[in-house]
Amino acid sequence: MKFTISWLKEHLETKALDEEIINKLTAIGLEVEEVQDASALYGDFLIAQVVDEEKHPNADKLKLCKVDIGGKVVDVVCGAPNVVKGMKVVYAPPGAVIPINQMKLKVVKIRGVESSGMLCSEYELGISDSHDGIIHMSENSNVGGLYIDQMNLNDVMIEIGITPNRQDCLGVYGIARDLAAAGIGELKEIELPKFKTVGKNPINILFEETSNQKNYCSAFGSRYIKNVKNCESPQWLKDKLSSIGLKPISALVDITNYILFDYNRPLHVYDADKISGDIIIRAAKKDEIFLGLDDKEYNLSEGMCVIADEKQPLGLGGILGGSLSACSTNTTNVLLESALFIPANIASTGRKLFIDSDARYRFERGVDPNSLNIGLDRAAKLIQEICGGEISETQICGTIPNNEHDISFDLLKNTNRLGVEIDQSEIESMLKKLGIKITSKKDNLICTIPSWRHDIHGEADLSEEVIRLKGFDAIPVLPVRTEKRINEKILSDSYKNSLRSKRFLAHRGSNELITWSFTSSKDSKFYIDDQKLEIQNPISEELDILRPSLIPNLLNAIKKNSSRGFESFSLFEVGNQFFSDQSGDQKNIACGLRAGIKFEKSWRTEKSHYDTYDVKDDILTLINHLIPQNKKIEINAGAPKWYHPGRSATVMLNKKTVLGYFGELHPKIMKFYKIKSRISVFELFLDEVPTKLKKTTNKENYIVSDFQAVDRDFAFTIDKEIEGKILINLALKADEKLVKNVEIFDVFEGESIGIDKKSLAIKVTLQAFDRTLNETEIQEVSAKIVDSIQQKTAGVVRS
């Protein structure tokens, strides 16, 4: 909402300085977003007259001008083609700052001739793009006077942000009222216009269906004005609209705009001669066509409110006027409308048709019902003053609702809410200045809320009025700590797992990324079966669904960073993946990617690349970090379809819970992304990882044997398909008391042992709790191990 200080002062009697007003606006919740001070911008510029001009001795296109700046003549070099002797111009003296480029003028020599100052174009002043020539001021301009005085620019323009609840401040008058209540001066009463009326409105106005009327329009007020002459607006009106960035159009339109911004009252003016028959206020029919003032064609739907004649819609009620009944320079008879539309209907119509208009903005926030008559009369009077004509009596269709209501305001509760006791007389005085009538006293005030305040419904709202006018500085700073702690559990298990995972993975050398929760459906086809994940109004095609996996965005991160020259990738993200678009159908995942160079070739290491065993280490050490000493973890070959089927595995807990997957991404995904290197991934379902299961914080019993342990190595030739973990388990089970550990230390495949075979070498550690094992015992256990493995795997021990 834009206005100027001088416009404000038409409604506010105040001696406050501009700066006080600006600070107070923000302090009472009308946040100042911009201040434009023309006198600061143009204050140095003078009106001057060219008394003589001749060609510059050293340049063809420059002229040497003698310029009268009010009792003194200076030399100015000027390149404008339109400069002539006698012309009145805008002169910037040395020291002035040119608005368009912030250049500070100095006395300079131009091609050997001294130039003192500059003659300005509109472009240089930042007024328009025109720099064809310098500004030609009118003949009656006062030479030597200030440019801002000549142009009536001696004003400060302020733009404030209005929160959706403060519909009452969408007009200058309302802003003045709020400032008055905050102690900045006195609100001036609006003078009710007086004029003679001539007869009744000749146009018949009716609601088509009174039963539905309450859904879209409660009252429609109008006056008929005949024999007007639409013309250019007078200078004061044009200046006023220009001062807040509006373009003057014609007197009839400018007057309605003026009342809109001054008094927060949307109006509309129809060319009455373009209306066929009666005016009917009705709901639009399905697919009815409406031609807007913006020259666009709108396809209406049922329930939208139209102001129509017998043939067609002439206006979209409270949102946009129509082109068919628009006023022109030939207009002689007009119908002036001042109506009251229902906010919900305005909002939904505006949303459906994507129309943002000043009227819609106000009606959907709620307009003061009592402004209907005052606005209508002020506009009618102005039309008569500027365009002439005879005004009919007011005709009101429907009824103006009375929305004044009472709130009982408990001052003790107010104190308990605000944390500060404010003097009752001060409260009453502030509220009264807002137009709130107070009828009962003592601790409970009965407050009658005026028709223009649609945001005050209860006591909390009144507390807000009190504290915003009083100022938040009045509130003391009270301690936030309480004596008794109320929360037992601070973080959920899942949240703890997230926090721990991030720190752990980063400490393992991986980098934490946070990527969008959206991704592209194209990139996601590898991870989706038939989940519904679409976003209705995505920000772009690349971000059109909720992510079904964290992998696609991380792959894009690898692509991006490859192009930045990175060749080694250790990335992870901890966040939600979505299983459907239902609320809550999301899981917390830790997802890590490793790709590219693990070790660069160096004096010390051979070049090597990340592989599946790196992500296996990641996920298993992470699980171990989250649930220490858990021995019930199992690795099963195979993982979902986005993994390489032969290079992936599923991590299980207690044989039934899937904790996660790891492995190499499927080569077809790499092909899709045109990524050459192999990428290894793990995904861990953090919500599935149990945190503390036991009740005790004690560790397990400490049992170690001090007797000597012996290692024995075995090698078996077995079928290629048999997994190493099977051999390990068989060896462990061969003698559960004595076999302490089994590790695979070599894997060999080659034609020498057959293409469908492999050789696995295991190291078995044997140890007893109560003795050192003798050779016979060792031989016995070894035999058991060999027998068991040979029997169960059809393998052959290699010697």
């Binding site: 929160t163 959706p164 605000l418 938040f472 700073v477 936030v480 980098n511 990527t515 609320s583 159908d585």
Partner: protein, 357 residues
Amino acid sequence: MSNLNSISKNIESEKKLVKDIETLEKMRLQFLGKKGEITILMKDLGKMDPKERKAKAEELNKVKDSVNNFINSKSDEFEDELMSNQLASEKQDLTLDSKISDGRIHPITQVIDEVIAIFTDLDFCVAEGPEVETDYNNFTALNTSENHPARQMHDTFYVNSETDGMLNVLRTHTSPVQIRSMLEGKPPFRLIAPGKTYRCDNDQTHTPMFHQVEGLVIDKTSNMGHLKGCLETFLKEFFETETPKMRFRPSHFPFTEPSAEVDIGYRKDGNQIIIGEGDSWLEILGCGMVHPNVLKNVNINPDEYQGYAFGVGIERLAMLKYGISDLRTFYDSDLRWLKHFGFIPLDIPSISGGLSR
């Protein structure tokens, strides 16, 4: 005696031949070994009469000691030489690089961890909620009816699923966690809810996904003074300054009444942002007393209970505290940026250990 004399002569000549540990050992064996020349003479002592033996023994021991001394000192000398040869041969050039693992924590994670550290110290717990929310939880329960103009300011993302006939949304703020928490529990409440939020907006100063932390305190007495104290404590601790400059401005949120926005005072020194000095203001959070209608919507009697709520933008906090000037870089996945602005994994913020280094 002549024998001893010849041995002494031999000793002198052999000494000159000793040049390393092997020749030294050879000399030891020649004189002191089992069949060494001195050893043999020592054995002969037994056959002598006592008088002769005493005189001979004295002489012989002198010679033996001198040989022993020579061998010991030479032995030390040779060992030292060996050690210095070994050291010289084992020299490494440690200016050569070794690979250092250098994972980083994202600044958003770090800042959320800082916020959690501060508030849990003040007896707040951490609450969570889903990112796909019902229209009811995101708006209606928060006193924002279907046609409320505030809804349009939220630029909501919609999905196709519905709850009670209304399309579900990507939560536009963390405030629906207030609703979920209050419906699940009983007052009093003291919680924060950090998390991801979404708005359909994408330009230099807006990202379609961002982070907020919600705060909620409901009991029988908490008022705007406590709200002020809470936020002041938070800002003091977060920005690690004793004198944060705060400015409360009246504002509007449908779910709080009275509502305020809080600006923080700062000044710029080159690219550095100095919090608590200067006269520039930056809006960092919205807050207010929980609206009685919100309490009614979660079955809490507003005549008995009251309290405050606030919502802070995590990105704003991170940008101010750590001097990150461009919002969009948070989600650009640029490893160079992460290396620069990211955090060492074991720098875990805590009240006892400090929030930042």
